[in-house]
């Protein structure tokens, strides 16, 4: 039987997967999906920094809220760095993503080794943010991540029509007076929120897959955007739940890897289905 805590973690991971699929669908159509990779990597210095600060103040060594706040802050700095690099037009976005992603990850890794040299348990569990470990989540962690994920789905539903118009035809959306900058910023904030919420369970290395794989699979088997978003959400939820289940049963398998492999199974099914 599944214990109460495991069930909550499963539901949290399912909500996270659903939100990743839904937000990922729009990110994919807007050509922004790889930003999730930059966000994930850029979050590491923030996680480490937040835990060092909390340890310095003698606070609770591992409370998820402040760690995620730190993650969001440094991921946001990473996005600002990306924008600064690409602003001149002389550095292409793919190159800029490579630079920012590796710079922040390297910085975070150095910070991690400093934290690990410290005597107290400040660093305990921090390395789980790299590969993800749903089994280490407690009930309130899972509810925090799941709640954030559901909020993201709500925002997408509320902005569905303008987001669709923007993803299809930016020039037209601008000409109609839609707040294109604000919508793009909103999409970016959603991407950031989903990535950060997914960090503890899926890990920063593979959080990008949870955003891209369900959306890419859904695109293959659907004709309209509402259907694509729903299928991406379902594929993501299935991947999140089954991945979490696998890694709570076999604790040496990192959740991130289990979730992504489960997602790839679903993706493979969509590829086969779309060819028939």
């Amino acid at each position: 039987m599944i214990g109460h805590n495991t069930l909550v973690v499963l539901l949290g991971c399912a909500a996270l997967g659903a939100a990743s699929g839904v937000v990922g669908a729009f990110a994919l159509l807007r050509g922004r999906a790889l930003l999730a990779d930059a966000i994930g990597h850029a979050a590491l210095p923030g996680v480490v920094g937040a835990s060092l600060i909390m340890a310095g103040f003698g606070g609770p060594a591992r409370s998820l809220g402040p760690l995620l706040l730190g993650a969001a802050l440094s991921a946001w700095l990473g996005l600002l760095a990306l924008r600064a690099l690409t602003a001149s037009g002389r550095i292409r976005p793919d190159a800029a993503i490579g630079v920012v992603l590796s710079a922040f990850y390297a910085l975070g890794t150095v910070g991690l080794s400093i934290a690990q040299a410290m005597p107290d348990a400040a660093q305990a569990g921090l390395s789980h943010f790299i590969l993800g470990q749903a089994a280490t989540l407690n009930e309130s962690d899972a509810m925090l991540a799941g709640g954030l994920a559901l909020a993201c789905i709500g925002v997408v539903a509320a902005l569905f029509q303008p987001l669709r118009a923007l993803c299809f035809d930016e020039a037209f959306a601008r000409s109609r007076g839609l707040p294109v900058r604000a919508l793009d910023l909103g999409l970016l904030a959603l991407l950031l929120a989903v990535c950060v919420a997914g960090l503890p369970a899926v890990g920063l290395l593979l959080v990008v897959a949870l955003l891209i794989v369900p959306a890419a699979g859904a695109r293959l088997v659907t004709r309209g955007l509402p259907a694509m978003v729903v299928v991406a959400g379902v594929l993501g939820a299935a991947a999140g739940a089954s991945g979490a289940l696998i890694s709570t049963r076999f604790e040496n398998i990192p959740t991130g890897a289990a979730v992504v492999l489960a997602g790839l199974l679903g993706f493979g099914a969509t590829v086969i289905f779309s060819r028939r």
Partner: protein
């Protein structure tokens, strides 16, 4: 009557290279073709007027008003190649986008808005293609979807970027018929165009560009061999 569209002192450049120099021009009501060789700044004029690309100086007015105040009366039809036609949407989905931003933002498209979109598709001869995925339409049909989206806005001024480029004969006839219908209803159309053969039969005025205004006015006066030779003669940018 105020002109549906006017620009004064418009200068636009891309990465320091001038694309439009000191364009001052006023459109009269009716159908206007914007002509010129590649790189003459035809699309640039529309995009800069709509604030889609920054202008170095100058301003555009629509019905005597600045863009923000006149926006509901303006429909823009971008080049067909500017979007991904594999996008997961039906023809009706795309045309219904015309009802933004005042349509409800959440959930599905309201029925009333869907009916307006359906009627617009009907007026470009695509009634039975409303539910077809846009990627499965021909290039000409896709162009007509864009036209239907512009029509569904209920605008008074239409800025169209090469809607007749590389389309089939049926699409060309349909678009021209829609243009004449708009003109009869007192609407105005500014259309970037490349084919000189249709001008005399179908347009009221021309604006001939080559980085600057070469000639402008009623077709009978401005559409002259001399103006065309000057614009297309390989001498863009008289110094």
């Amino acid at each position: 009557m105020t002109a549906p569209f006017s620009v004064s002192g418009l200068n636009v450049s891309y990465a320091g290279r001038p694309a439009l120099r000191d364009v001052t021009w006023q459109a009269a009501q009716g159908l206007t073709a914007i002509l010129g060789p590649n790189g003459a700044g035809k699309s640039t004029l529309l995009k800069a007027a709509l604030g889609l690309i920054p202008a170095d100086s100058g301003e555009a007015r629509f019905f005597g008003l600045p863009l923000e105040q006149a926006r509901p009366r303006i429909a823009y039809l971008p080049q067909r190649a500017s979007v991904d036609w594999d996008f997961p949407a039906s023809a009706l989905d795309i045309v219904a986008m015309a009802r933004l931003p005042r349509m409800r933002w959440w959930g599905s498209v309201p029925r009333a808005e869907r009916e307006i979109a359906r009627a617009a598709l009907g007026s470009v001869g695509l009634a039975e293609f409303a539910d077809r995925q846009i990627g499965r339409l021909s290039g000409g049909q896709q162009q007509r979807v864009f036209l239907a989206r512009a029509l569904a806005q209920g605008a008074d001024l239409f800025l169209m970027d090469e809607p007749l480029a590389a389309v089939d004969a049926v699409t060309e006839q349909t678009i021209l018929a829609v243009l004449h219908d708009l003109a009869r209803k007192g609407k105005s159309v500014l259309m970037v165009h490349h084919d000189l053969s249709l001008i005399t039969a179908h347009f009221d005025q021309v604006l001939i560009l080559a980085g600057h205004v070469v000639a402008a006015g009623p077709v009978a006066e401005a559409f002259t061999d001399a103006a065309i030779a000057q614009a297309f003669g390989g001498l863009p940018g008289r110094s």
